[in-house]
Subunit: 229 residues, 2 copies
């Protein structure tokens, strides 16, 4: 079956580094969903603003890979333990479709069709969106047992910013807080868990190149410069 994007989502992540590993983890990370021209019909969103959450089916466009790999290594297991691909949410799957639930903040009717403003995103800027569905009560299973997810805490880091680099940014308080949360969730590749602080890491947030290092459970912000993207 051939599927075509119905929309694109615009976020603060030009690249996949730094992205939260699931949706809904950082409410301060916002997204703006703009429909493709054939779908810019205000009728298509009638009743949608009455829902607090929506599902997005989207393209793992930064993680296309040929061939079938039967296992993947979830970051929360340290990035070295192989689990069956169907037991993970890894992007490297036969059909490259991501599933995220995000908070629907606002439905705006513009001259270019409806625009959906959402919170808690986990996708890069410009990601193609294949479907949008309302989140309904039947999607919620509070009794669900989620295997290794249940037994492993997502570790978090204490963020230190001795030079006040984040505070000095002109990006508004909500984005500053979101950036601190992104850092606290440890945006390193997980296989560097034995870090002793020698290595510098970086990721892009908006038009910023954010550099940091980690020693134990302390993350130190080293440098934030305007990125050359």
């Amino acid at each position: 079956m051939n599927i075509e994007p119905v929309a694109h989502i615009y976020t603060d992540f030009p690249a996949k580094f730094g992205l939260p590993r699931q949706s809904g983890l950082i409410n301060g990370l916002k997204g703006r969903i703009v429909f493709e021209p054939p779908f810019r019909n205000p009728e298509s969103v009638r009743g949608l603003s009455e829902f607090s959450h929506i599902w997005l089916l989207w393209d793992f466009s930064m993680a296309h890979r040929k061939g079938f790999c039967a296992t993947a290594c979830p970051p929360r297991l340290g990035g070295k333990t192989h689990m069956g691909i169907w037991a993970t949410r890894s992007p490297f799957r036969p059909n490259s479709i991501g599933l995220s639930s995000v908070r629907l903040d606002r439905v705006e009717l513009t001259d270019e069709g409806p625009v959906l403003w959402v919170s808690g995103i986990d996708m890069t800027d410009g990601t193609p969106v294949y479907d949008i569905k309302p989140y309904i009560r039947y999607d919620c299973h509070p009794d669900a047992v989620d295997g290794y997810v249940e037994h492993t805490e997502c570790h978090s880091l204490r963020v230190q910013d001795p030079d006040g680099l984040i505070d000095a940014l002109d990006i508004g308080d909500e984005r500053k807080q979101a950036l601190r949360e992104v850092l606290s969730q440890d945006p390193r590749p997980q296989y560097d868990a034995d870090d002793i602080g020698n290595r510098r890491y970086g990721f892009y947030f908006m038009d910023l190149d954010v550099r940091f290092r980690v020693r134990g459970d302390i993350l130190e912000v080293c440098e934030i410069v305007t990125a050359v993207l």
Copy 2:
């Protein structure tokens, strides 16, 4: 993007009539997921049996329709009220992908690859499956507000079977109970809500043709015969 089935799911519904309108509504409705030959690798399900629920992304293969319709009429609103397509879970959407959460009962390793046994299905027999993902805690939003879904009760019918037609079936107690629940959830097209019992309806369950009529909130089983499919 081109997507290919990774598996098919086999259920008791040869056609879409009678299907529950969401997944998880009738636990007695079972499904068996069999992978396509390229994906029959036991490694691909490593760790999966530790999850109680899984997501299925699947093809609304019984409801393909050309062209974009911006609205749909949800059955729970009586089937006559138009809502924006993105505010519904209607199958008639630009990319024909269904999203269901089902209970994972068992992972069986067979000579033909892994087989997944699930409960609470809402798809027809032989439906193509594009993706299987574990249900994780971040998918559950107990505080979600679900618009018109919240304000409308799914009405249910009292099932009468004066001739004991269901009891006489040789399909096991669990399937008999599931069939009664299918009937109680009113498998009529919703636009026949003013029924006065003159009309007979039918649907297929396994190899059975189940006929019934409805007067008010009473559903009466009229006839159950072996179907000529």
